[in-house]
């Protein structure tokens, strides 16, 4: 598969399909951290990255993990966001500039002196994203970043991620099971099954009956329209958002 610049890709599939493994190939954790056999080519910006260390790739591919608790290292948010830059040996003035920018963009500037354990789950994930952002990668990979968050906070985090994609051109790959909200932000959905990519395309195209058969949980509006189609209602699209669905229903009801 290939991902274009500025893409917002949602990677999904049932548990064990290989999506977690795949995204760990993208930043070097496979094969550098996890043993095993890796075949094939991986190119980032047309450059072959086989043999590059995770540290080298960190400036190109940022990675945000599921559990906010286990990716915060420092006892203050500011120092945590600077952590990656300090590791890279970035000089102080530039590092401070980047840290301030990353915190502003993720909306946590006012939390700079707080300790990670004083933050809510949502704030912790923002801090984690800021810490990755500060290293200025072109690509960001997020592995189920909203699993532990309540729905409203999850929405807020997705909005932050979407903003980074649209305004700052950050190519985004997000792994997720719950497709209801995230599909609206994606221009592309990749579905994996048993270690292979089986579907790939814009969400409206991917979310048809065959996707349901693989066992992924389609957004409720999409599932609804599949049922209506089977019942003989003349709907033609696979809606991704409530707005798309309500427009389609208006057309069908003759308004």
């Amino acid at each position: 598969m290939s991902i274009a610049k500025n893409d917002f890709v949602v990677l999904t599939g049932v548990s064990g399909c290989g999506k977690t493994t795949l995204c760990r190939c993208l930043n070097g954790l496979i094969p550098n951290f996890y043993a095993g056999k890796l075949e094939g080519d991986l190119k980032i910006n047309d450059v072959d990255v086989k043999g590059k260390s995770t540290a080298e790739l960190a400036t190109h591919v940022g990675f945000v993990f599921q559990n906010p608790e286990n990716q915060l290292f420092s006892l203050s948010v500011e120092r945590d966001v600077a952590f990656g830059l300090e590791n890279l040996g970035i000089e102080r003035e530039l590092a401070i500039e980047r840290v301030n920018w990353a915190m502003e963009v993720t909306g946590i500037s006012q939390l700079r002196n707080k300790a990670p354990y004083e933050l809510s789950g949502g704030q912790q994930q923002r801090a984690a994203i800021a810490g990755v952002l500060a290293m200025r990668p072109e690509i960001i990979v997020l592995d189920e970043p909203t699993s532990f968050l309540d729905p409203k906070t999850a929405d807020e985090i997705l909005k932050v991620i979407s903003r980074l994609n649209r305004e700052f051109g950050l190519t985004t790959l997000l792994v997720e099971h719950r497709l209801d909200t995230v599909s609206a932000y994606a221009n592309r959905v990749i579905v994996m099954d048993k270690g292979k990519i089986v579907l790939d395309g814009p969400p409206e195209a991917v979310y048809d009956e065959s996707a349901r058969l693989i066992g992924i949980g389609l957004p409720k509006v999409t599932a609804l329209f599949h049922l209506l189609k089977r019942d003989g209602i003349p709907v033609t699209i696979n809606p991704i958002t409530v707005t798309q669905a309500s427009e389609a229903l208006r057309r069908v009801s003759g308004n």
Binding site: G121, G217, L224
Partner: protein, 280 residues
């Protein structure tokens, strides 16, 4: 039956975690306790099996005051399944894991073997009876944890965030399993913030926010109340949002799941298609 009467509780060193909670759950009920992270949901359910004792007020399990019994005694009636199975798995084999609680509760050998076998079969993990629980996948470990609590057949089953990290098929299987348990007349209490999962189960919903119960009623009424839902840091179910975005169809105000939406739309849309045909 669980009866919570004017209970307040606070962890040492923090302000009140639960404030004047009153709640009654009857035999055979299915209740979802929902609310934002930190609302006090897990604290509340830890009162049900005596892990925590209230500062003031009382918690009665089948009319027995939780203060008068040990955790082991209360756990016989109230099975609490924790969010992370790794916090309880320790045995060499899955079978041993299930036998653990039965031995603690003093069950007889013959009964133990029967129970273990039937639970493993019910949760589709009998092939793992001699496997190490640590070798299993995340979803399988969750099922082992679930089995190890249900194996002593507690009357009340409490699940803390059972849907986190689960894919759609796993949630579906869980939902069906809950339906089975309800048919066995158990009291099922699920702590969750997964609105869509609750919408598909349609239980009674107890909504909590900042240590208080802010709403209590059928899922259809609670999950469609925008103010309440937002206060508890949740989101309206997608079907509810959809129905509200097409007011001209005059949908009933309490649609929360796909099947109810479909049913309504079929009759509403077919009616309009008919009237248009008649006009021609």
């Amino acid at each position: 039956m669980i009866s919570v009467e004017h209970v307040s509780f606070h962890y040492p060193g923090s302000s009140e975690t639960l404030h004047d909670i009153s709640l009654k759950i009857d035999d055979g009920e299915f209740v979802a306790i929902m609310g934002e992270n930190g609302a006090g949901k897990t604290t509340l359910v830890k009162l049900f099996n005596g892990l925590l004792k209230p500062d003031s007020g009382s918690v009665l399990i089948d009319n027995v005051n939780s203060r008068d019994r040990s955790v082991a005694e209360l756990s016989r009636q109230v099975g609490l399944i924790f969010q992370n199975p790794d916090h309880q798995l320790f045995a060499e084999t899955v079978g041993e894991e299930l036998r653990f609680s039965l031995k603690n509760f003093g069950f007889e050998e013959s009964v133990i073997e029967n129970r273990v076998t039937s639970l493993l079969t019910a949760l589709d993990i009998e092939k793992y009876v001699n496997a190490s629980p640590f070798m299993l996948s995340g979803g399988e470990r969750k099922r082992v944890a679930l089995a190890s609590i249900l194996v002593w057949d507690p009357k009340h089953v409490v699940m803390d965030e059972p849907t986190i990290g689960q894919d759609y098929l796993q949630k579906d299987r869980l939902r069906n399993f809950i339906i089975q348990l309800i048919s066995q007349k158990k009291v099922i209490i699920v702590v969750t913030h997964d609105t869509e999962f609750v919408a598909e189960c349609n239980p009674r919903v107890v909504l909590m926010s900042k240590g208080r119960i802010i709403a209590d009623g059928p899922a259809k009424s609670i999950l469609t109340d925008q103010t309440m839902v937002e206060e508890a840091s949740l989101v309206l179910p997608q079907m509810t949002q959809l129905m509200r975005s097409i007011p001209e169809l005059h949908a009933p105000d309490d649609i929360i799941d796909v099947y109810a939406a479909r049913k309504f739309l079929l009759q509403a849309l077919k009616a309009r298609v008919e009237t248009r045909r008649e006009r021609r």
